[in-house]
């Protein structure tokens, strides 16, 4: 973990020193994490790539102002959450949409039945997630998809650990309520 942090700092310093390679390394390291995070937060597939691009655009312009008071990845996650929120606000739709990432994932499977089931499950999950308020959803995604600890989530979302815990709890309750409506389709 420590070497990972040091690696980030090294790339950041490299970029501030004028070498573009440092920035490219950071983009390659975090592009998949941020893409999946943006997709989970928004429910939009192709737009998630645009969000990631916008995040790195902001990073490129403001990296020299990064004070290193927190981990680089924490800072990056925070920018992603804010950019995703802005995107949804622009769209004025807090719902997931058809034509999701599932289409691409499912295309890799040979079995049509498996493909269909996976798509159904993913669509249901997306629809249920879209019913969860953004603040709660972000906390839940950081915990269950990104696997961050409560402490780190609190740092990313600028709130207390107790708040993170209650947001995750509420998000799970809403999600459970939504998913239980379609119990037989999922389980």
């Amino acid at each position: 973990m420590k070497s990972e942090i040091n690696e980030d700092i090294f790339y950041v310093q490299q970029f501030i020193g004028g070498e573009e390679q440092g920035f490219k390394m950071l983009v390659n390291k975090y592009q998949n994490n941020l893409l999946n995070l943006a997709y989970s937060l928004t429910g939009y597939c192709h737009e998630s790539e645009d969000i990631v691009q916008e995040v790195f655009f902001k990073v490129y312009r403001n990296l020299k102002f990064f004070k290193q008071r927190c981990r680089f990845s924490t800072w990056l996650y925070r920018i992603t959450v804010n950019t995703s929120y802005d995107f949804l606000r622009r769209k004025r739709i807090f719902k997931s949409r058809e034509g999701s990432l599932v289409d691409e994932i499912a295309d890799n499977r040979n079995n049509p039945r498996e493909k269909l089931l996976e798509k159904q499950r993913e669509d249901l999950l997306n629809r249920a997630l879209s019913k969860v308020p953004f603040k709660y959803r972000a906390a839940l995604i950081f915990k269950d998809i990104e696997g961050l600890s409560y402490v780190r989530i609190a740092r990313v979302l600028h709130c207390r650990i107790g708040t993170v815990e209650s947001r995750i709890y509420r998000a799970r309750q809403i999600l459970k309520k939504e998913l239980l409506k379609h119990k037989e389709d999922i389980i």
Partner: protein
């Protein structure tokens, strides 16, 4: 019932392994006794597994880098404009409009002065100066 309420409160943290040992022991004991809480736990666990088991998309190496570097705007590291917030940016034209209005006022005032014929100018032109004409020129100044 009191135990169930306490367990419900701690369940989410227990699921995430963020509950202190004392609380975790309590939950473990309670789950083995209470069927309702045990069902709640398995529901939450299912949701957690669904989310964590989601397929993750993997982009090709340099995919975002290529997208970034084909963008024309990309490459500008930082400009003064970036330091401004959206509110400041929306108010940016205000000083420019004030400056333009001030300039227009000054120019129009100068033009007015250019058209004016002062008493001194008239005397210098060596024309006949009557009292009536002098008064008129003084009063219009």
């Amino acid at each position: 019932m009191k135990k169930c309420a306490k367990a419900k409160r701690l369940l989410s943290g227990y699921l995430d392994k963020e509950t202190p040992d004392k609380g975790a022991d309590f939950i473990r004991r309670h789950l083995s006794d209470c069927r309702i809480c045990s069902r709640e736990y398995s529901n939450l666990l299912n949701i957690k597994n669904m989310l964590s088991g989601r397929e993750r998309t993997v982009l090709a190496q340099d995919h975002i880098v290529k997208r970034l570097y084909t963008n024309r705007e990309f490459g500008k590291r930082y400009s003064l404009l970036d330091s401004l917030g959206s509110l400041s940016r929306s108010f940016m034209p205000v000083p420019a409009v004030i400056a333009a209005l001030f300039l227009a006022f000054v120019i129009s005032d100068l033009r007015k002065d250019q058209g004016r014929y002062y008493l001194e100018d008239y005397i210098m032109s060596a024309g006949p100066v009557t009292t009536e004409l002098a008064l008129e020129l003084i009063l219009t100044e």
